[in-house]
């Protein structure tokens, strides 16, 4: 299978005052196209930082990230934004919906940024799939946490991404709602044939993916396929 994401010798450090803090050190792994993949580890192990670097939200100090065959470290911010808009979808722990936009408008954003003409139609279909047909014109403040995360799910798939990054997608939800969202996520993912990368604390959730990368102290502890 072709590799959609290649990470090699990644290093990320932050400077706080005169102190240099190494968050990620010598990280290397690869993800196959269409695979489901999870990154697990305790708090402060560098999971979210790694996800950000994989998605081109930040630049590493050294090492390389190759997404969809293109090295991200050689691109500027706008080129990376264009890449994200075409190839990447996101789901965040705290939903990250734009408060001024309705559910329908939030889902349309990635398509509208591309200048797509049929954004509303695609967004309506996706919201229908996640069971929010009757919530199209509601604003985030008028939706429950579970509903907000379903809007975020629809948005993540709206630009038909090649790879989807989910950062603790159930972190802000109760168990029951979280389970529903996860089922929906895997279902949509299967339908679209998207590569899925999940950052989570939840080992049960991680076990539902095909491969698990364990981090500790900024280093890869293990990288193994699930049974």
């Amino acid at each position: 299978m072709p590799k959609i994401l290649k990470i090699h010798n990644l290093e990320k450090t932050y400077t706080s005052g005169s102190k240099k803090l190494t968050v990620l050190n010598d990280i290397s792994f690869e993800i196959e196209k269409g695979e489901t993949f999870s990154i697990v580890g305790p708090s402060g192990s560098g999971k979210t930082t790694l996800l950000g670097l994989c998605a081109g939200l930040d630049k590493p100090n050294s090492g390389g990230v190759e997404l969809c065959g293109v090295p991200l470290q050689d691109m500027n911010e706008d080129q990376r934004a264009l890449m994200r808009n075409k190839e990447v979808g996101f789901i965040f722990q705290n939903f990250q919906l734009l408060p001024t936009l309705s559910a329908l408008e939030n889902v349309s954003v990635p398509l509208e940024l591309q200048g797509a003409k049929n954004a509303a139609k695609i967004a309506t279909d996706l919201l229908d799939k996640v069971g929010l047909t009757d919530r199209l014109h509601h604003y985030p403040s008028q939706l429950s946490g579970g509903e907000q995360q379903r809007v975020a799910l629809a948005r993540a798939f709206s630009n038909q991404p090649s790879i989807l990054f989910a950062d603790e997608p159930t972190g802000n939800l109760d168990e029951e709602t979280g389970e529903k969202v996860i089922q929906l996520l895997f279902e949509l993912n299967r339908e679209a044939g998207t590569t899925l990368v999940i950052v989570t604390h939840d080992l049960d959730l991680a076990n539902r993916t095909q491969q698990i990368l364990r981090l500790k102290g900024g280093k890869v502890l293990t990288n193994e396929r699930t049974v």
């Binding site: 939200l57 808009n85 965040f92 722990q93 349309s108 954003v109 509208e112 940024l113 403040s141």
Partner: protein
């Protein structure tokens, strides 16, 4: 705790402070300057008059007045002054001047400021003239040159820089020329009917009670058409007129402060909202409601105090520049001194205003439940309607009390509060309507960027309304001032195309008329008006003698009517500037019928007469019975000769009279040519060149509008500070939104466009509403106050609207730079 928490939010608190600093600076500078003016007028009271008291009259004192002057030991100095043309043989020029013939050592207080200094002492003895310094510069005159006034030619001994009691503006139409009194006779200009004023200056012994003197003598002198003015009364009158101006400016400054306070309320609202979780945590740990409330109250009060202090210091610095701007309006030099009361006022205002306006959001800390630690519920705060009502009430009460203190009138203060509330409500109302309309009718088909930037105006915790209020109010003030200035100028200017008279010849004797007319027409200039003037006084009104009316305290007849020497004319038709409002116009008297005259509506009101009432005039010793036949509404603003009393033809033709002739000179050269000729041959004729007067008027208007624009500038500047504060306050939210968009694939250009468009909407909405409202208010002013046709100038639309929008855009974008450069991951992590 207040200090510790405040330290952590120092940058944001600084911006809150900036909102009130400007308002306080404006109020303190104006207040402090007016205190200084008052003090200066008090200190220079005697120097303003040059004597302790003056008796003045428009005619040579009669026996009774002379008796009073003698009983006071005779005057210490005296003066006769009148307007006349002066010719300058050196360059063959001429100019209307006020000739002041002085006898004695006037002034007794203050000085005649001359160049050379010795000229003030020597002009009496050496028999020379002191000529207004600006006029000498204008006509290139030097000491030693001569000046011709009527039949008198004397040398100029020095230039006159200042005379006690007159300002640069008040003397700009007819600049003063001082000559020894003994030369007045030789000018040959003191003829019957010419306008003149006699003044007798007195130095009072220290024991003399000037107030008692004024009380005793003024009514007696009034009855004899004379007047007594003590230095105290004069300076009080002067003080009052300047106080009125400074009160007005103070109110404009106060509006700027109110604007700043609304900015504070809005920023504190968001600041406190973000602190609510921390307050709930404190409450969980056992802090009482009072303690948590006090933490933020102390912060806000401290911020108000520091803001007040900085504002006061800036205000005190600013007032140093005021004398430079308005010195020409003042008949004395202003010395700025240090006064404690504006400083105390500035500090108190700073603390009170910030606490008052922040009270409503501060109350949230009182009502926040410890349960909020677990979950912040939108809209669950401020349960007490009473607290809310009390806060609003206190804010209005404070505005009322402060304006009452400024205006010293309950009714005016109430009027001001109502005006402020109505203006803010209209601005807010129109803004809300506009925003709703835009949101509703904004084309859905427009691109994402245009729609997203518009929606940003409605984001949670938005400060759109405050910003539109601030920008709108500033634009409204500036545009209204601009339109008003336009109206005033339109009212006074003579259009080049029209042939309205622009040169008026006064004091033309009947015998001279026939010689002067050919002089004018030979230069191919038209005679537009030839108006006979007969001077007269009112002897009795409705059968009651003027003297009796004076003593009657219940009479509704205004005093000036009884003392005034009227200049009436006679003619058979109405002129352009008047409309018959009551009665019947009589063009010519019929034999055997009573003399029916026409009077202006303002005179009818001040004389308390109606059509059919009788007035007896004293026409230079001869009594004449008349009946009010008609009342006219006169447009006094028109630059032409208007009369309050018009006789029909056939009555006054043989009375002693002089004439006013008017003509139209197409350019300055022909005007100067005519004036030169007339001054040479008819020295007693005064020539008023309206073009010159209008240019002086324009200059005055320019200076006044400069002062008012200066105040409006404070509003705009406060608006800008509120804008910066708001941009900063919502910065984190903007960064979050932008980062999110960038995460979803938006590029820098798209984000920049969204931000720019948002500020563009704010700027165009605010300034658009401001200009629109100013258009309405100017139309109202034009219809009801100035009574002119209002043709709006394009400047506010072409300059203010785009200019202010561009300014808002610029400030917004400069302050949003970090929004564009923040790394996405960092922001998203914070959210987690």
């Amino acid at each position: 705790m207040a200090w510790r928490d405040g330290k952590a939010s120092a940058t944001r608190l600084l911006l809150f402070m900036a909102s009130i600093i400007l308002g306080i600076a404006a109020v303190v500078s104006i207040q402090s300057f007016s205190e200084n003016l008052k003090e200066n007028i008090g200190q220079q009271s005697k120097a303003l008059m040059g004597a302790d008291f003056i008796i003045d009259s428009r005619q040579l004192p009669n026996e009774r007045v002379q008796g009073i002057i003698d009983s006071l030991g005779g005057s210490d100095a005296s003066e006769v002054n009148f307007a006349s043309m002066a010719a300058f043989p050196k360059n063959d020029d001429s100019k209307l001047v006020r000739v002041r013939g002085i006898e004695g050592q006037f002034p007794f207080y203050g000085t005649l400021d001359t160049e050379p200094i010795s000229a003030a002492q020597e002009y009496q003895e050496k028999g020379g003239a002191l000529v207004d310094a600006t006029m000498m510069l204008q006509y290139d005159l030097k000491p030693g040159d001569s000046i011709k006034i009527g039949n008198l030619t004397i040398p100029i001994l020095g230039s006159l820089k200042s005379v006690p009691g007159s300002s640069a503006i008040s003397t700009s139409v007819a600049p003063p020329v001082l000559i020894p009194f003994r030369f007045i006779e030789k000018t040959g200009l003191l003829q019957v009917g010419s306008r003149k004023e006699y003044q007798y200056f007195f130095v009072a012994p220290e024991t003399m009670d000037l107030d008692a003197l004024n009380e005793n003598l003024d009514p007696i002198l009034d009855a004899e058409n004379a007047d007594l003015d003590t230095h105290k009364v004069t300076s009080q009158r002067l003080g009052r007129s300047y106080t009125n101006v400074s009160k007005f400016l103070n109110l404009v400054a106060f509006i700027a402060l109110l604007l700043g306070c609304i900015g504070i309320a809005s920023s504190v609202h968001i600041y406190i909202k973000e602190k609510l979780r921390a307050v709930a945590v404190l409450k969980c740990m056992g802090a009482t409601r009072k303690q948590t409330f006090l933490i933020f109250l102390i912060q806000i009060a401290g911020m108000g105090f520091v803001g007040g202090l900085i504002g006061t210091l800036i205000g005190i610095g600013l007032q140093q520049t005021f004398p430079l701007i308005i010195q020409e309006f003042l008949p004395f030099n202003v010395e700025i001194s240090f006064s404690i009361s504006p400083i105390i006022m500035g500090l108190l205002l700073g603390v009170f205003m910030s606490v008052l306006f922040a009270l409503l959001p501060l109350l949230n800390t009182w009502y926040v439940s410890p349960l909020e630690v677990l979950r912040i519920q939108e809209g669950s705060l401020i349960k007490s309607r009473r607290a809310r009502f009390l806060t609003f009430g206190s804010v209005l009460l404070f505005i009322y009390l402060f304006s009452f203190w400024l205006l010293e009138s309950g009714a005016y203060a109430l009027g001001f509060v109502i005006t402020v509330v109505v203006t803010f409500s209209i601005l807010a109302g129109v803004a809300i309507l506009f925003m709703k309309a835009i949101k509703r009718f904004f084309p859905k088909s427009w691109g994402f960027i245009a729609r997203q930037s518009l929606l940003n105006l409605f984001r949670p915790n938005n400060q759109t309304m405050v910003l539109i209020l601030a920008i709108g109010l500033g634009t409204f003030l500036i545009s209204t001032l601009y339109f008003t200035k336009d109206m005033l100028q339109a009212r006074t200017s003579i259009e080049n195309g029209t042939k309205d008279p622009n040169i008026i010849l006064m004091d033309v004797q009947t015998a001279q008329k026939e010689a002067i007319i050919p002089n004018i027409t030979s230069k191919e200039l038209p005679i537009i008006d030839d108006l006979p003037i007969v001077t007269m006084r009112m002897h009795s009104i409705k059968g009651v003698l003027s003297n009796t009316i004076r003593k009657d305290s219940t009479s509704r007849v205004r005093n000036w009517v009884l003392n005034n020497e009227f200049r009436a004319t006679y003619r058979d038709s109405l002129v352009d500037s008047e409309v018959l409002s009551e009665g019947e116009w009589i063009s010519e008297i019929e034999l055997g019928k009573p003399t029916e005259i026409s009077i202006s509506s303002n005179l009818a009101q001040d004389t308390d007469v109606e059509v059919g009432d009788e007035i007896v005039f004293n026409i230079q010793g001869v009594l004449m019975n008349t009946i009010v036949g008609s009342i006219r509404t006169v447009d006094w603003g028109r630059a032409q000769m208007n009369f309050s009393i018009v006789f029909p033809k056939g009555v006054l033709e043989n009375a002693p009279q002089f004439h006013v002739l008017t003509t139209y000179a197409p350019d300055e050269e022909s005007s100067a040519n005519l004036q030169r000729d007339l001054v040479k041959n008819f020295p007693n004729v005064s020539i008023i060149d309206l073009r010159q007067i209008l240019s002086i008027l324009e200059d005055v208007l320019d200076k006044i509008s400069w002062v008012i624009n200066f105040m409006a500038f404070f509003s705009i500047l406060t608006g800008i500070i509120v804008l910066i504060g708001s941009v900063r306050t919502s910065k984190y939210q903007r960064i979050r939104e932008s980062v999110l968009l960038r995460t979803l694939g938006a590029n820098s250009k798209q984000i920049l466009k969204i931000n720019a468009l948002e500020y563009f909407y704010l700027g165009i909405l605010g300034s658009g509403i401001g200009v629109l409202l100013s258009l309405i208010s100017s139309q109202l002013l034009a219809s009801f106050v100035f009574e002119v046709n209002f043709v709006p100038s394009f400047i506010p639309f072409l300059v203010f609207l785009p200019g202010i929008t561009a300014l808002v855009l610029f400030i917004g974008l400069v302050n949003s730079k970090s929004v564009l450069t923040s790394p996405p991951l960092e922001v998203l992590r914070k959210e987690g």
